[in-house]
Amino acid sequence: MNPTKSSAISLRVNGETHSLTVDNRTTLLDALREHIDLTGTKKGCDQGQCGACTVLLDGRRANSCLQLAVAAEGRAVTTIEGMADGERLHPVQQAFLDFDGYQCGYCTPGQVCSAVAVIEEHAAGWPSAATADIRPETGPPPLDDNEIRERMSGNLCRCGAYVSIVRAVAEAAAQAAAVRESAGDTTPDGGSGSGTVPAGGSGARVTA
């Protein structure tokens, strides 16, 4: 194998297509940081243990340090830089800021990307290890604090902002549920982002 072999690829990141030539060993994480200058995605361990490099691949969260850039061709990559709507922060970003869901900020982009996906995964009815009853007919479990903790546990935070992160995710999830309800979407098993949070699944914990 020739270790210098490189490939010309195009990556679709935050809706923009980037053409670049990468060493075949280049991870998606390094392609973002070193080639496209999107340094918002962080390198905490470079071996899939900390979650700081979390991005969305075709809408689902993934550790970009464990993904080769050449294998990400043709997939939609969403990074922290693609979360805000212009100057308007994504509700998850706003909640992290308001609830102080971070300290040093280094794990934050990964936490935010995870949280955005968690809210959609939950709304779509995906169970977690914390879900008491996973039978489909019981519908999505309430997104209570234990569900959030379990679902967010792939993202380490050494500053110990977990308590505020849980509050921020709960707040953003409640907002997302309210938006879905006002849009009249009550389909329980809709695709990504179209499910419903059952009544009682939000309110109390937001004010905790």
Binding site: P3, T39, Q49, Q93, C104, T108, R158, C159
Partner: protein, 748 residues
């Protein structure tokens, strides 16, 4: 948060301090106490972080993220043996690999000035200077290449051979190499008051136990990173550290440069906890390579390298002997603390510190011993000494409460000192009792059944525990400047660091009040060595030290402005340096205090310990920003939970290396491990430092491990004197409670 300080690790007496007389004079001659309480009222109100938007959008650039044209990438190769000499470095074939620009090693690297170090000669800075290998993971070469992939492949291909020598990495309290360290005048290792043996012999109740804590690692989320380059005759550096000015000073000395020829900046730092207080190898080799290649070079440590190059908390073994009257009053307190350091530096974990501060005893003895092993050099980690030391003394106090039949809080109230127990000096303030009272009320401690093993929830045994906490609250010299701009705004410049503490925001609040101007008219620039001397973000001294400099600069500026009709285009600037003010501080002991409470559930079938809730109540002086203060306190408590249940660096005696040096093997608390945690504070007026600020980066972790261990005893009736309280330890120890699963030790 922890870092080398002028006072830590040290005895309480070493904290630069103001005598009672000086302090009193200070309050009359200096208007500082009122300066911080200016009319705009920013201090004491919750503010979201000024850099918050940059952090949640990914726009904040950390040290390894600033792009440069012609940037080259350095990758360290590290030793695979624990002791010996380098026989050969196979640079030739590596230099022929694609993209490789240089291989730096001890035979060709620039010579560094010996004896340089922030706290005295620091041998860990002497990178690539000789063939000696003092531990596994010591840097032996830097490979520089055009891309990170090329640099990594080349570093991994580099063949280094060694003449290996026998090594010793095995620590215990019985190690024959234990000796009295030379702590220097600021780091007293031993104290003695009264006749400890006579008082123990005369005591009705005695506790005599050994407590152990393992190697613990900072594991900040941002790996240490630096980019160095020469620009207009200056060595320009962007580095991940806790104090840009101190690092710049050392870097200049190390490379035989004028102090003015080096500039270090650290705009955003992704956590530190002490590991970024001192200059670290990544920066030194980046500067070497930038000099040799005359182009910008970036070096980022890998996660695994962080476990051997940026310090850690050494394992400790601590024997505590308590002797008390039947009513609980202490006649004797003996704290014998042992730990280890490397063969090249003598770092001393001052675990006996809390026993010189928290309880009164007729006889009080503390001893600190250290043994030099073939391991990486340990260093300050959040609440050095205080955190492991509090596990020992606060666990022992719980054992004494059990033996005397006293409530743990009652026992502590009966041993509350009037003055510093070891020093005899007055406390600048001591509001520990209100912490106990307020904490007990909020936690619901009063209704607690003291008997162990009385509560059960299905398969879970439930228990509650508490511990006291103390941490030094020192002040160090710093300087700041403030410019009144022509447009009516103000620019504050201070070489402070915001490692996640919220310092940038807090200093803006401080400055706004001191200038009596709205918050939005103040911009604070930090983390640039060109701003002049300022203390590190460490030792819980950062904000207290910087805020004093900022308030002094504000006062000087206001005096200046009173004489000016119109601000010129370049603005009007005033500077202040608190060196003389701080050096005049003598004769008092100053601490933050706290009370930690925890409720745990123990599954004796699986050995799992779950923390169900925690509450911390603290006396931390003036709280500048309640929002970020609470975050920092809770963050410390979570690190304490992690210390109690998860963290343990495991060293292989055969290879001398760490077995679990990554984030899969070295467990830190994840979100699912952390329950509802509350932190609050009591009134704690203390203008010994006129800003009234004590600092709260470290007090949060102190006492937590003991509170959790004490709760595990309350749940099971079994004492866990070794951290972490692992599943296998709980299973092996089982439970002393009859009628529980297995009726005793559970074996599978």
């Amino acid at each position: 948060m922890t870092a080398p300080t002028v006072s830590a690790p040290s005895t309480p007496m070493a904290v630069p301090s103001v005598s009672a007389a000086t302090a009193a004079a200070g309050t009359t001659t200096s208007p500082a106490p009122t300066r911080t309480a200016g009319s705009s009222g920013a201090v004491g109100t919750s503010r979201t972080r000024l850099e918050g938007r940059a952090k949640v959008t990914g726009a904040a650039r950390y040290a390894g993220e600033v792009p440069f044209a012609e940037l080259a990438y350095g990758w360290l190769a590290t030793s695979t043996v624990a002791r010996g000499r380098i026989r050969s470095i196979g640079a030739e074939p590596v230099l022929a690999m694609p993209g490789v620009l240089a291989v730096l090693h001890h035979e060709n690297a620039p010579r560094l000035k010996p004896g340089v170090g922030m706290m005295g000669p620091d041998a860990t800075l002497q990178i690539l200077q000789d063939d000696r290998v003092p531990h596994v993971g010591w840097p032996v070469a830097l490979v520089v290449a055009e891309t990170p992939e090329q640099a990594r492949a080349a570093a991994e291909a580099l063949v280094v051979t060694y003449d290996e020598e026998p090594h010793d990495v095995g620590f215990s309290s019985g190690h024959p190499g234990l000796h009295t360290p030379d702590g220097g005048p600021r780091a007293r290792t031993d104290t003695e008051k009264g006749d400890i043996e006579a008082e123990l012999a005369a005591s009705a109740v005695v506790v005599d136990e050994e407590y152990t804590t393992p190697e613990e690692y900072h594991t900040a989320m941002e790996p240490h990173a630096a980019v160095a380059r020469w620009e207009d005759g200056r060595l320009e550096v962007i580095d991940s550290n806790q104090g840009s000015h101190a690092v710049a000073q050392d870097l200049a000395k190390l490379f035989f440069l004028d102090a003015t020829s080096v500039r270090v900046r650290s705009e955003h730092v992704g956590g530190a906890f002490g590991s970024k207080g001192l200059m670290r190898p990544h920066l030194i080799v980046a500067a070497m390579a930038a000099t040799m290649l005359d182009r910008p070079v970036r070096v980022v440590l890998t996660r695994r390298q962080l476990f051997s190059m940026v310090g850690f908390r050494p394992a400790t073994a601590q024997r505590i002997r308590l002797g008390a009257e039947p009513g609980g009053r202490l006649r004797a307190l003996d704290h014998d603390a042992t730990s280890f350091s490397s063969t090249i530096n003598e770092y001393v974990e001052q675990s006996a510190q809390p026993s010189r501060v928290v309880y009164a005893a007729d006889a009080l003895r503390t001893r600190t011993r250290v043994v030099r092993l073939d391991v990486p050099t340990p260093s300050f980690m959040r609440a050095p000494g205080w955190a492991p030391g509090s596990f020992a003394i606060e666990s022992a106090m719980d054992e004494l409460a059990e033996k005397t039949g006293l409530d743990p809080i009652t026992l502590r109230l009966r041993n509350e000192p009037e003055v510093g127990p070891a020093s005899g000096l007055p406390f600048s303030s001591r509001n520990l009792i209100p912490c106990f009272e307020e904490g007990a009320r909020r936690f619901g401690w009063t209704d607690r059944d003291p008997r162990p093993g009385t509560r059960r929830d299905g398969r879970w045994l439930l228990g509650t525990g508490m511990a006291a906490a103390a941490h030094s609250a020192g002040t160090a010299p710093s300087s700041a400047s403030i410019t009144a701009e022509a447009d009516g705004t103000f620019t504050v410049r201070i070489a402070a660091a915001d490692i996640g503490t919220g310092a940038r925001t807090a200093l803006t609040q401080i400055a706004a009040d001191a200038l009596e101007t709205p918050l939005k008219t103040v911009r604070v620039k930090i983390a640039d060595s060109d701003f002049g001397p300022a203390f590190l973000a460490g030792g819980s001294m950062g904000t207290a030290s910087w805020a004093w400099a900022v308030t002094e600069a504000a006062a000087a500026l206001r005096e200046k402005l009173a004489l000016v009709d119109q601000i010129p285009g370049e603005g009007t600037t005033a500077r202040a340096d608190t060196t003389e003010l701080v050096m005049a501080m003598r004769g008092q002991e100053r601490y933050a205090f706290g009370a930690q409470f925890a409720e745990v559930a123990v599954d004796v079938a699986s050995g799992e310990v779950r923390v169900r809730r925690m509450l911390g109540t603290f006396a931390v002086g003036r709280v500048v920003n309640p929002l970020t203060a609470r975050s920092q306190l809770i963050g410390g408590m979570i690190m304490g939970l992690s210390m109690a249940l998860h963290e343990e660096g495991i060293r292989d005696t055969a290879s001398g290396g760490l077995v679990n040096g990554d984030l899969a093997g070295y467990h830190v608390a994840s979100n699912a491990d952390v329950p509802v945690i509350e932190a609050g504070w009591v009134d704690d007026p203390d203008t010994y430092n006129p800003t009234g600020i004590k600092g709260l980066g470290e007090i949060g972790i102190v006492g937590v491990a003991a509170a959790i261990a004490n709760a595990v005893w309350h749940a099971t009736g079994i004492r866990h004197r070794s951290l972490p309280i692992r599943l296998d330890r709980v299973l092996t120890a089982g439970t002393a409670i009859e009628n529980s699963i297995g009726g005793g030790a559970v074996t599978y």
